[in-house]
Amino acid sequence: MSDTRRVTVEVRRLNTHYGTRQILKDVSLDVREGEIMVIMGGSGSGKSTLLNHLLGLLRPTSGTVKVLGKDINTASALDVQELRTRMGVAFQSGALFSSMSVGDNIALPLREHTRLDAMTIGIMTRLKLEVVSLAGFEDLMPSELSGGMIKRAALARAIVMDPKLLFCDEPSAGLDPVVASSIDDLILRLRDAMGMSIVVVTHDLDSAFKIADRICVLDQGDVLALDTVAAIRNSPNERIQNLLNRRTEEAEVDPDAYLRRLLGERARQDGEDDSQQRHLP
């Protein structure tokens, strides 16, 4: 049976580069209303780059990214501003303003984007602190919080506007297993109560399997798999099984490229052929 839920994120044939290096290769994916999509992959797989494209922070070489029905790269500045009021982002580092109290950090989006009265903003802020189990911490400064508390405060700020779409970058990285698990529970409760679409970038397998409806496995910029948790677990693909079983892969050695790197020589640019190389002084 086809899924009739509204598509909230639509990525089509996304290709991106840093300089001449291609980071994402023809990536396509959809996220539906109320779905938790986990983007998984090892370091350097392109998952953070993909997240930055979903947030409209980077311009692709080619391809499109539509968020809540709007192409984030061609929408007007006003439309992008409006889109951002309907999206929440919990950054990996928390990205809290160190000069502001926890409460002021969380209230900031409401003060910037709405005309709600101060009492309503105060209640909404404390409500979110309750939701993330940080009740009573609103007057503390970010420097007074533990790593897990910073992650939860960042999550509270990300959801303070009740976004339709929530992005979480490594929400449990660096946390002990119990705190990490409580953040997973919180993500599930947010989806169930508010019907949010949630995109989580993580390399934490336990977390991915616990919260995901579907998992997108990235490998060196390619979508290696995009499927349900059960299908990913049972995938016959060797690279996926290596990832799941935490097996390292021996990188294939290209002797010429290896020698060039050791000798500090630049890789050949497109358009240069061997004869040109040989005639270089």
């Binding site: 709600l116 209640i123 909404m124 409500l127 979110k128 506007m161 009740d162 947010l190 169930d192 508010m194």
Partner: protein
């Protein structure tokens, strides 16, 4: 968001329906504040609420607090599943007076 008021057995029943979000919740807050300042017993019929965000919940919290201070009653009735899930997320189902039906709330 639809918001209608009617008298029922001495209480004011506020019929709330549709999506109660950032755009509409100031109207809900204003209506509830006016009623609470009149020290009226208020029952909010939430049977038709398809969505309520935390700005809507904040308006209910503020009204409830005013009722507690003023000695009036403030009861949520026939709370729809979508609204109940949001209340439960912040454990506010343990805080508000909640009745299964409007008649039950008025007669309570």
């Amino acid at each position: 968001m639809n918001l209608d008021k009617r008298e029922h057995m001495g209480a004011v029943v506020v019929e709330l329906a549709g999506e109660v979000d950032l755009q509409h919740s100031p109207r809900l807050r204003k209506a509830l504040m006016e009623l609470m300042l009149e020290h009226r017993d208020v029952v909010v019929d939430m049977g038709g609420v398809s969505y309520i965000d935390s700005s809507g919940i904040a308006s209910l919290v503020e009204a409830y607090q005013m009722a507690r201070k003023g000695g009036g009653r403030f009861i949520l009735a026939a709370v729809s599943q979508p609204a109940l899930r949001v209340l439960q997320l912040a454990r506010l189902d343990k805080v508000f007076a909640i009745a299964e039906t409007v008649d039950g709330a008025v007669g309570a």
